[in-house]
């Protein structure tokens, strides 16, 4: 039998020392931002019932979830997302709480991806959910928080992109086609497959609606997008969505992130989940979006609690990868190693604790001799050895 005791499962990895320092730094920075805005942390179980993720607005293909069966034969999944469990909590234990609710999370999600593609199945995600408000002020709060998070990760080289899934929905509703064809149009817009989209829409007809849908994936960039979008079909609902998005965009510009906030009217992912404004965040040096979110007004109703909500999630591992490439991070070296002569071991350990309370990093030497302790100190770049005996001496170790 082949043994797998020396490796980790595909799509997972061990994080050593520096990796942990970087990631903890990112987590602290982001959670400080969340907490400062009154978001409270919530932790949900690592395993949940499959049903929680199998709603109408689900967007997790079942083959992407890690599944288990509990001792009663019920299907469980290893948490693939945090928003649905939080919606579940809001709809149950927090049902009587005064709205809006502000929650944040910092936990792993697991998604089974195809092997050998260089991406992880285990992803550390942080995010916020603002539940119980459909106000534009809530959208602005969530989006400015996303911008603050991105700029705290990399102030120069981030992008935040805005869209509104309602545009696509309103347009595609007007087409006399089946649900399957709508889904095909959506997926072609999502991957900006211009030629195939044009072919498919041409086969449906040459109308204002098909021409507008052809334009949708090409409408991304700065404020000029709104001028181009004016050429889309005239429809009061569509005009209103565009006007609101433009107002949102304009007010975000006043934050002063020139050129970093952009628009893409062709964001159409997770169509059954998002209901309005959607956002994506990018950092230079990572080939995929690191942040994504938006308004999801129908999700909680599926848990029997019909309240609107909005939020976003950021991939902490992706941010860490980008930051680690930019700056060299070192695990802090111990300030001192304490060696105790025979009979003074407890005194040595007491000293280690005392130095610790003073904010120093102090190692306890487990070697029997001072010489071995010094060698060890030299190997790890520890500059000072304290030798505890009837009289305590300090020895400086040379590199």
């Amino acid at each position: 039998m082949k043994r797998f005791d020396l490796i980790t499962p595909e799509g997972t990895k061990d994080l050593l020392f520096e990796d942990c320092v970087v990631r903890n730094g990112v987590e602290k920075k982001i959670s400080d931002i969340f907490k400062s805005k009154g978001y409270c942390e919530i932790k949900t179980p690592g395993i949940e019932f499959f049903d929680v993720f199998n709603l109408r607005s689900r967007y997790f293909p079942q083959e992407s979830m890690y599944k288990l069966v509990d001792n009663k034969g019920r299907l469980l999944v290893v948490r693939p997302d945090s928003t649905m469990p939080i919606a579940r909590v809001a709809a149950t234990r927090l049902r009587e709480a005064k709205l809006p609710l502000r929650m944040f999370y910092n936990q792993n999600v697991y998604r089974s991806k195809s092997a050998m593609r260089g991406r992880s199945d285990e992803i550390k995600q942080m995010g916020i959910e603002l539940i119980g408000s459909d106000s534009k002020r809530a959208d602005l709060e969530v989006i400015t928080t996303a911008i603050e998070v991105l700029s705290s990760c990399d102030n120069d080289k981030f992008r935040l992109e805005l869209g509104n899934i309602g545009l696509f929905r309103k347009l595609v509703e007007k087409l006399p086609v089946t649900e399957e064809t709508r889904e095909e149009i959506r997926s072609l817009i999502e991957v900006k497959n211009y030629p195939a989209l044009n072919d498919l829409l041409d086969s449906i007809g040459d109308t204002e609606v098909t021409n507008s849908l052809k334009q949708l994936p090409r409408l991304f960039g700065g404020v000029e997008v709104f001028d181009k979008a004016a050429e889309l079909m005239n429809d009061s609902e569509i005009d209103q969505i565009l006007a609101e998005l433009k107002a949102l965009y304009t007010s975000l510009l006043s934050l002063g992130y020139d050129g970093k906030i952009t628009v893409d009217l062709g964001i159409v992912n997770k169509m059954h989940y998002y209901t309005g404004v959607v956002i994506k965040g990018y950092l230079e040096g990572y080939g995929d979006a690191v942040l994504s979110g938006g308004r999801y007004n129908h999700l909680l109703a599926e848990f029997g609690y019909d309240v609107p909500a909005t939020g976003f999630a950021i991939n902490v591992d992706a941010v860490s990868t980008v930051l680690k490439r930019k700056e060299t991070v070192k695990v802090p070296v111990a300030d001192v190693i304490v060696f105790a002569e025979d009979g003074y071991v407890i005194d040595g350990l007491k000293l280690v604790s005392k130095l610790g309370t003073e904010g120093k990093i102090a190692l306890n030497s487990v070697f029997d001799t001072l010489e071995e302790t010094k060698n060890y100190a030299r190997e790890y770049g520890i500059k000072k050895v304290i030798c505890v005996s009837d009289k305590t001496t300090e020895i400086t170790v040379e590199g």
């Binding site: 992008r159 992109e161 040096g285 080939g287």
Partner: protein, 211 residues
């Protein structure tokens, strides 16, 4: 990385697609002399603002997906087999051929109730083709000349790329059904398109104008 100071990086599928793409870039007016005298180099400059990376088809997708190359030229066959997350912005028109279902001449593939065996280099393409038909098939992955499999009675049919059909004909096989048309596609990393929008859109535009 998507460093704004670095050149726009385009991954090309080595071989015929590479030659056709270079021809296209030259038609637009880029200096591709370095690619013609490449020797064994794999990363080559094209003009001042672009560099091309020569890679195997499937790797073009991997490099673009991860954003280490901003754009790529790759056949629809590889895209269908590999899938992945990127924008597929243009059909370049060259490298035209098709995926087809083929087998021994004169036989009726759909006859009988037995589960058919399909030999192919493209298991994912084959699986999704038969999935749409609601048909269960056994798929055998073959690395070399797939035409052998039906001749040796390992498989009832093959799903493979057909260009002229000569190989099929010379081996007593024929196309039963077309699966999908194939041609070279221009793909773009999802983040690059946003962060280097102007450069990339200009290039796409001049490519579209010169097709």
């Amino acid at each position: 990385m998507n460093n704004e100071n670095r050149k726009l990086r385009i991954a090309l599928t080595k071989g015929r697609l590479e030659k056709d793409t270079v021809g296209l870039l030259e038609k637009i007016g880029y200096d591709c002399s370095a690619v013609h005298d490449k020797g064994r180099k794999l990363i080559l400059p094209v003009g001042d603002k672009i560099e091309v990376v020569l890679a195997k088809a499937a790797d073009v997708i991997t490099y673009v997906e991860h954003g280490v190359c901003d754009m790529g030229v790759v056949g629809k066959d590889t895209i269908m087999e590999m899938s992945g997350k990127f924008f597929e912005v243009a059909d370049l028109g060259f490298g035209r051929c098709k995926f087809a279902l083929a087998g021994k001449k004169g036989t009726n593939f759909y006859e009988g109730f037995n589960v058919k065996t399909i030999a192919t280099k493209y298991p994912n393409v084959s699986r999704s083709f038969f999935e749409k038909k609601g048909m269960d098939v056994d798929i055998v992955k073959i690395e070399g000349s797939v035409e052998l499999a039906p001749l040796l009675d390992l498989a009832d049919a093959i799903v493979d790329i057909v260009e002229t059909g000569t190989t099929l004909k010379e081996n007593g096989l024929e196309v039963f059904e077309d699966v999908a048309p194939i041609s070279a596609r221009l793909i773009v990393n999802t983040v690059s398109l946003k962060i280097r929008q102007q450069e990339i859109e200009e290039l796409i535009k001049s490519i579209e104008e010169n097709l």
